[in-house]
C-alpha cells in the first residue's frame, strides 16, 4: 500500500501545473474515491492543515500520508509529490544556461520578465482579497508595507510580530 501511495503521489505530482488548488481535486479522486485510503472528512481536514502550515498547500500530502501509513507514508508521499517538479526544474536549469546565449531565447525571456511583474501584482491582490477581511488584518498589512518598505525592517521580525498579533487578536 505504501508503494501504491507513492506511485499515486508521483503521478499526481507530475500532472498538476498551477499550484496547490489544481492538486486538490486530483488528490481527492485518487485517495478518497479510487482507493478509499481517506474518508472525505479526513481529506478536508488535510486540506485545512495544508492551509494553516507554512509553505505550499501541497504539503497537505504529508498530513494525508501520515494518516495512511505513518511517518513513512508522510515521507514517501511528500517525496512523490515533489519529485517530478524537482527533476523537471533541474533539467530546465541545466539546459537553460546554454539556451540563454541565443538571441531568440533572450528576446522571449524579456517578454517573460515583464509578465512576471504582472504575476507578482496579481498574487498580491489575490492574497489581499483572501486575507484582508477584517480591520485587524488590514492594519497588519499596512504596518507590514510601511515597516518592510520605507522603514526597511527585516521581514522575518515583521512576519513573526504579525503572527503573534494574529494569534492574540484573530483567534
Amino acid at each position: 500500500m505504501l508503494w501504491m501511495f507513492f506511485l499515486s503521489t508521483l503521478a499526481i505530482g507530475s500532472l498538476t501545473f498551477g499550484g496547490g488548488y489544481a492538486l486538490i481535486s486530483a488528490l481527492q479522486q485518487e485517495l478518497v474515491v479510487r482507493h478509499a485510503w481517506l474518508t472525505p472528512d479526513e481529506f478536508i481536514n488535510g486540506v485545512a492543515i495544508g492551509q494553516i502550515t507554512p509553505g505550499p498547500l501541497m504539503i497537505m500530502v504529508s498530513f494525508m500520508g501520515y494518516k495512511i501509513a505513518g511517518l513513512w507514508g508522510a515521507l514517501l508521499g511528500t517525496l512523490g509529490i515533489f519529485l517530478p517538479s524537482f527533476l523537471l526544474a533541474l533539467f530546465l536549469s541545466r539546459y537553460y544556461k546554454q539556451a540563454q546565449a541565443s538571441p531568440p531565447v533572450r528576446a522571449a525571456l524579456r517578454g517573460i520578465n515583464a509578465a512576471v511583474g504582472g504575476l507578482l501584482a496579481a498574487a498580491a491582490l489575490d492574497l489581499a482579497r483572501g486575507s484582508l477581511n477584517n480591520p485587524v488584518s488590514v492594519a497588519i498589512a499596512v504596518a507590514g508595507i510601511l515597516l518592510i518598505g520605507p522603514a526597511r525592517r527585516e521581514p522575518i521580525w515583521v512576519l513573526l510580530a504579525a503572527g503573534a498579533t494574529g494569534a492574540w487578536l484573530l483567534r
Binding site: 517538479s85 517573460i112 520578465n113 504582472g118 503572527g163
Partner: protein, 198 residues
C-alpha cells in the same frame, strides 16, 4: 561563493515563514536572495519564477530548485529543495500526530491569519520594486498589465501566461534592438549587476 549552509538557512527561513500561498513564498525568496543579499539579479530571479511556472507543482518550489542550482549546482538544488520544504513537512507531521487529541487549533489559525496579512503587505512591496526593475519599456509595461489581467480576471494558468509572454517577447524584441540602458530605474536597492545589458 554562497555556502550550502547559508543557502539552507535562507530557504529554511522562507519555508518557515511562507504563509499565504505559492506567490507569497516567491516574494519571500525575492526579498532574501535578490534585494537583501544580492546573490542574484532581478532578471535572474524572474527567470527562476518563469521556470517555476513551467513545471508541475508549486511555482516557488521549482524556482527554489533553480536558484539553488544557479548558486551551487546540483548540491545547491537539493539543499534548496529540502530546506524549503522541511518546516512545512515537520509542521504537517506534528499536526497529524496531535490532530486527534485536539480537534481545533485556534491560536495557530489566528497566527496564520496575521502572517498572511503581513505577507500580503510584503508581496505588495516586492511587486512594486521588482516590477519597476523588470518592466523596462512600454511594450514590457503592456505585457505586465496583460499578464496581470489574464491571471487575475480570467484565471489563466501561469504556465500559459509565461508561454504567451515568451512568444510576445520573441516578436517584440528580436529585431536589432535599440538599446536603452534605462538609468536609475531602481536607485535605492543594492542589487548587483543592475546596469547589465541584455
Amino acid at each position: 561563493m554562497v555556502s550550502l549552509a547559508e543557502l539552507a538557512l535562507v530557504f529554511l527561513k522562507v519555508g518557515a515563514l511562507g504563509f499565504g500561498g505559492p506567490f507569497a513564498l516567491l516574494a519571500l525568496i525575492e526579498k532574501e536572495v535578490v534585494s537583501r543579499r544580492g546573490w542574484l539579479t532581478p532578471e535572474e530571479f524572474a527567470q527562476s519564477a518563469a521556470i517555476g511556472s513551467l513545471t508541475p507543482g508549486p511555482i516557488f518550489f521549482a524556482a527554489a530548485v533553480n536558484l539553488g542550482y544557479k548558486l551551487r549546482g546540483l548540491a545547491g538544488a537539493a539543499v534548496a529543495a529540502a530546506a524549503s520544504l522541511l518546516p512545512a513537512f515537520a509542521a504537517a507531521v506534528a499536526l497529524a500526530a496531535v490532530y486527534f487529541q485536539i480537534k481545533s487549533l485556534p491560536a495557530i489559525g489566528g497566527a496564520a491569519h496575521g502572517l498572511k496579512a503581513a505577507v500580503a503587505g510584503l508581496l505588495f512591496t516586492v511587486a512594486l520594486r521588482t516590477g519597476r526593475s523588470l518592466v523596462r519599456d512600454w511594450a514590457g509595461a503592456i505585457l505586465a498589465v496583460a499578464s496581470f489581467v489574464f491571471l487575475e480576471f480570467f484565471k489563466l494558468n501561469p504556465a500559459w501566461v509565461m508561454i504567451i509572454a515568451g512568444l510576445a517577447g520573441l516578436l517584440l524584441y528580436q529585431r536589432p534592438a535599440r538599446t536603452n540602458p534605462e538609468p536609475g530605474a531602481n536607485g535605492k536597492s543594492n542589487i548587483r549587476g543592475e546596469s547589465r545589458e541584455w
